[in-house]
């Protein structure tokens, strides 16, 4: 007999102790990750530069926001963040799906192969940036220089010429495994009965993939995209060690821009205003993505 777990379990244990179990965690997370944001909002309305203690802290109204929005660099950075996030997500989705399909078969050594594919996800962003920068992309000694040399082509200074595109590749290398794993979990949960039924109905492999598998995968795609969005928008380490956001602002994204404002210019007010803007922008991004997914696939996503 299958019981509704919530009701049955609620009746099982006295619930008076539940609060005592919940609150320590809530308080800890709230104080450290949520409360400071209120202070960020407060600081964003003030002028305060740590390098100029003589000027003190003065109320500035919305001028910090005005200043950021009138800065051409901000719009370039916003555009970079958008490109980085969208192209990374698309790349991750396409490649992740491909790899998931390859791994959703029976073959010898499947576990090891999966482990190899998953590994880049565990490499700390700082190190993956460094490895790509030196080993693969270094225009003098790197592997890409070796290949272009063999082909008789001039070596390409990837990070100098295509900084943002290169960072997209490095970040994708790290996040494709995540998409692969989530989609693989999705593929493996397709009910075999359903597949058999569609086969009996005369569907070929492609029809089966698009009419049975994909609709089933939508939930998984949605989860992967939303979480990927949250993390990829916050890309920082890869940029820090490869290009430091340069040349100019050409590979700076929003988090790195905030780091430059806060920890290189020590502009507390400006960096805080930017922090508030980033939270607003991320919320908008996420709401849009969520809305698009729901609208396009409304029927399949329950």
């Amino acid at each position: 007999m299958k019981t509704d777990s919530k009701l049955a379990r609620g009746a099982l244990e006295p619930s008076s102790g539940a609060r005592g179990l919940l609150w320590p965690g809530i308080i800890m997370v709230g104080i450290i990750t949520q409360l400071p944001f209120l202070y960020t909002i407060y600081l964003s309305l003030h002028d305060w530069n740590l390098m100029r203690p003589d000027l003190g802290v003065t109320f500035a109204g919305l001028s910090n926001f005005g200043q950021i929005l009138s800065e051409p660099a901000f719009w370039e950075v916003l555009k970079n963040t958008f490109f980085l996030t969208v192209f990374c997500l698309l790349l991750c989705l396409a490649a992740g799906m491909g790899l998931a399909l390859l791994l959703n078969r029976d073959f010898f050594g499947k576990g090891i192969i999966r482990t190899l594919f998953v590994s880049p996800f565990f490499i700390m962003p700082a190190v993956s940036g460094i490895v790509w920068k030196t080993v693969i992309l270094n225009p003098n000694f790197g592997f890409s220089a070796y290949i272009t040399g063999k082909l008789g082509l001039p070596a390409i200074d990837w990070l100098g010429k295509y900084p943002l595109e290169t960072i997209i590749i490095v970040v994708a290398w790290q996040w494709i495994p995540f998409f692969m794993l989530v989609l693989l979990a999705g593929l493996q949960s397709v009910s075999p009965d359903l597949m058999e039924a569609s086969m009996l109905d005369g569907a070929n492999r492609f029809q089966q993939f698009f009419n049975v598998t994909i609709p089933h995968l939508l939930r998984y795609i949605e989860v992967a995209l939303l979480l990927g969005l949250i993390f990829i928008m916050q890309t920082f380490g890869e940029i820090y060690v490869t290009t430091s956001g340069g040349p100019g602002y050409s590979s700076t994204n929003l988090p790195f821009y905030l780091y430059r404002l806060g920890f290189q210019s020590w502009d507390v007010g400006g960096a805080s205003a930017l922090g508030v803007l980033i939270v607003i922008i991320m919320t908008i991004f996420m709401t849009i993505l969520f809305k698009i997914m729901r609208k396009t696939f409304g029927g399949e996503l329950s």
Partner: protein
């Protein structure tokens, strides 16, 4: 034809996997080469391994930063479990008012980017004299991982068959005793994977580390980034440091693979 196609796909998969993993492999191998050999392209496969680089970087201070990383990651993981597991238990097994709201609040904290809170955190830590301290990182990483623990463990608690708990209850194991004797052992594999994942995330964290620490509490990723700007041309030495930096997270990651999907999607999807 019908037999060769699958074989070809399998071989292609092997090749692709090797290619995808090769930057990591290069890293792990180059650390054991001499500097001269390290910059040969294509990389030499047969070489006499040397521990010289490892010794050099260890003496250059890598040991201290590994220590920082280990202390911060382990302590924050234990604290996150202590705070998160009871909350997850309450949300999964007890009648809690607005349980769904609490749960979504936990996941929503993950959506507030670190850059939205870094400035106040920096100022407060400065005021408290806690900049560049291990305590600061422990607190931050704990708070960062509690939502993960709550979501992951809740899904593990939910997986326990109702009958099992009921049976324990009939045997007289109730309340705390029931929790420690029956419930907790059942979710032990879940706790282990959750802990491993928390450890990996704390170990690899870079943004808070680089913004809030310098010499006294710098973790491995922070040390790595400064090491590269100074010694980036010495590939063999750099690879040794990098190997020390990535190996713990990589190996633990391999072990927790099976539960990875559940962890990464905060329990939304089971792998």
């Amino acid at each position: 034809m019908k037999r060769t196609l699958p074989l070809l796909i399998t071989i292609a998969t092997y090749a692709l996997a090797f290619l995808y993993f090769s930057p990591v492999l290069w890293l792990l191998v180059t650390g054991f080469k001499t500097e001269g050999e390290a910059i040969i392209v294509p990389p030499s496969i047969l070489f006499e391994p040397t521990l010289e680089n490892l010794r050099l970087v260890w003496d250059a201070g890598a040991s201290a930063f590994i220590g920082h990383s280990a202390i911060v990651s382990m302590t924050s993981t234990v604290l996150a479990l202590i705070l998160g597991v009871p909350a997850a238990y309450a949300l999964a097994m007890l009648k809690v008012k607005k349980a769904d709201d609490v749960l979504f609040w936990f996941i929503s904290t993950k959506m507030l980017p670190a850059v939205g809170v870094i400035i106040p955190i920096y100022l407060v830590l400065k005021e408290l004299g806690l900049l560049d301290s291990l305590i600061a990182l422990v607190l931050l990483y704990t708070a960062m991982n509690v939502p993960l623990v709550v979501w992951m463990m809740r899904s593990f608690f939910k997986d326990i068959p109702y009958e099992t708990i009921e049976a324990g209850r009939v045997d007289g194991a109730t309340g705390l005793q029931g929790f420690f004797k029956i419930t907790l052992p059942l979710v032990r594999p879940g706790i282990i994977s959750t802990a491993l994942l928390c450890f990996v995330f704390a170990w690899n964290e870079f943004f808070f580390g680089v913004s809030l620490t310098s010499t006294n509490a710098a973790t491995m990723p922070v040390f790595m980034s400064s090491y590269m700007t100074q010694q980036g041309l010495f590939w063999a030495k750099m690879s040794s440091v990098a190997t020390l930096a990535v190996l713990p997270a990589l190996v633990l990651g391999w072990f927790t693979q099976r539960q990875l999907v559940r962890g990464l999607t905060m329990g939304a999807v089971k792998g």
